[in-house]
């Protein structure tokens, strides 16, 4: 559970998705998704592998286009934006990939400097260095600045991935399976980091996961997804105080097995 009370502005929606559909050939991945994320809120999308969770955030980030429905992010309809406007929006929407997706030919420092320098023409090297150090300190990995991604552990790669996203100071964070493949201690560290990012940088987030501990630790709102549809949403206690077989099965698998 969170050690702080997040400042959620319920009157301001930063993400507003309505009736979203997406198919890949005959594979119908999303079948009518409706979701709102309010300013300062962490929304966890829970579901088994292959239910379309990652597709959902890739549509929000503009990496995929929806077949139908509206995807409104920070007041803009993502699929209707020009390339230049989409680029502008992406500066405000950070995406943390499942495996970090670090540029493996660059050091950690260069990984962070790359998006910053590219998106801030004329920025001075001193300033870049300062921002890299501050951001790496925020994720607790200041000492890795000169290391190559291949020298980092799975958890460190994810943290650096988060740092690379944070360096652009986004308003929204999208986390794709942040704790997948990590040991329980590192999972807790990542969960704490997600909360810390929310507290310190005042971000709104969507966290895609199938890990209930992560959902419980970081989620202000939980949404359960099955076969491309949302089947239940609310706080963690609201979602899991139910007799619904699917939800209970999910809970039992995570906490009892």
């Amino acid at each position: 559970m969170k050690s702080f009370t997040p400042e959620i502005n319920m009157s301001e929606k930063v993400i507003d998705i309505h009736d979203l559909y997406k198919s890949f050939g005959s594979n119908h991945v999303l079948r009518g998704i409706d979701i709102n994320v309010h300013k300062g809120e962490n929304v966890v999308v829970l579901g088994r592998s292959g239910t379309g969770k990652s597709v959902l955030i890739k549509i929000i980030a503009g990496l995929l286009t929806p077949d139908s429905g509206t995807v409104n992010v920070l007041g803009s309809e993502v699929d209707k934006l020009s390339n230049a406007d989409l680029r502008e929006l992406r500066l405000k929407v950070g995406f943390c990939f499942q495996n970090g997706a670090l540029y493996d030919s660059m050091t950690v420092g260069e990984n962070l400097a790359f998006p910053l320098k590219r998106n801030t023409p004329g920025i001075k090297n001193e300033q870049v260095k300062k921002m890299i150090n501050t951001t790496l300190e925020a994720v607790g990995l200041a000492k890795t600045i000169d290391q190559m991604p291949s020298e980092l552990s799975g958890g460190q790669r994810k943290r650096i991935g988060i740092a690379r996203t944070l360096i652009l100071r986004p308003d929204i964070m999208l986390y794709d399976e942040p704790t997948a493949g990590l040991d329980p201690i590192t999972c807790t560290e990542i969960n704490n980091l997600i909360n810390e990012v929310q507290r310190r940088f005042h971000t709104s987030s969507i966290i895609i996961t199938h890990d209930l501990t992560c959902a419980k630790d970081v989620g202000d709102k939980i949404v359960v997804m099955k076969e491309g549809k949302f089947v239940k949403q609310g706080t963690f206690d609201e979602v899991f105080s139910t007799k619904d077989e699917l939800i209970n099965e999910f809970y039992d698998y995570n906490f009892i097995q």
Binding site: D67, N99, Y103, F114
Partner: protein, 264 residues
């Protein structure tokens, strides 16, 4: 069935033929985009130079060895036939025509298709499957311009330079053999060698080099950039880059030679 769910399109002719035409369409769009991005700001000079270093400088050792041996061996192989007619004095001229008109561009392009094409194909494919390209996109960086346009520019610039270098090194290999056998001086070898080389030969070789360089860049970038199927896709992209590049190089060679001969 939900009415909002899009149904998969039925093939117009057959899946294979439709796919072929879709690929052609995609490649044309890919090439047009390369040209469009090349003239857009910011100009990625630094990345182009870095890629030229990767493509050009890092291929120098292999190119030097291959070019030198090609010139040397070709001279050795040609000598017996020419000496039968007492025409060994034609050797420099014959070798120069062969090296400058055909061997230098072809050997360089085939080596680069193998070395550079596979490396670009595998690098981009690995970036694709590990989501590094997506990561650039979501960081508001244009991955196409940064990764594809720069590499295609680099191969188009570097390979002509390598072709010129291969030609020179090939002639040096030839000179070594002729000097050892006929004690021909360096100056008289080159005077003799360039006697029958026309301006059109240089132009044709230059055009070939640019076309081959562009082909290698486009094919390998296209294969790498659109890689799928995880790590298996990386190997596949590298392999297909080499095979298609080599195939296209031979086809282009035939066309360019035909056009040059019709002008000559």
């Amino acid at each position: 069935m939900d009415s909002n769910i899009e149904q998969p399109e039925k093939p117009v002719i057959s899946k294979g033929i439709d796919g072929f035409f879709k690929d052609i369409n995609n490649i044309c769009r890919f090439i047009i985009r390369i040209f469009v991005e090349a003239f857009k700001r910011p100009v990625e000079i630094r990345e182009v130079i870095r890629q030229c270093y990767q493509v050009g400088y890092k291929s120098l050792a292999l190119i030097t060895m291959t070019g030198f041996i090609t010139g040397l061996v070709f001279t050795k192989q040609s000598r017996p036939s020419l000496s039968e007619f007492g025409a060994t004095s034609w050797l420099p001229s014959l070798i120069a025509i062969a090296v400058i008109r055909a061997l230098a561009p072809l050997v360089t392009a085939l080596i680069c298709a193998g070395k550079v094409g596979s490396s670009i194909g595998a690098e981009l494919a690995s970036m694709r499957v590990t989501e590094q390209i997506d990561a650039m996109e979501v960081s508001a960086i244009n991955p196409f311009k940064f990764l594809v346009t720069t590499r295609v520019l680099a191969t188009t610039i570097s390979i002509p330079i390598l072709v010129a270098y291969t030609g020179l090194v090939g002639l040096l290999g030839s000179f070594l053999d002729i000097h050892l056998n006929e004690q021909t001086s360096f100056i008289s070898f080159f005077q003799e060698a360039f006697k029958n080389i026309s301006f059109l030969d240089f132009i044709t070789t230059g055009v070939k080099a640019v076309v081959f360089g562009f082909t290698i860049g486009v094919v390998s970038c296209y294969q790498g950039y659109h890689a799928t199927q995880g790590t298996q896709g990386v190997g596949k992209a590298a392999n297909i880059s080499v095979v298609i590049s080599m195939f296209l190089i031979f086809i282009e060679e035939i066309f360019i030679v035909q056009i040059a001969n019709s002008i000559r």
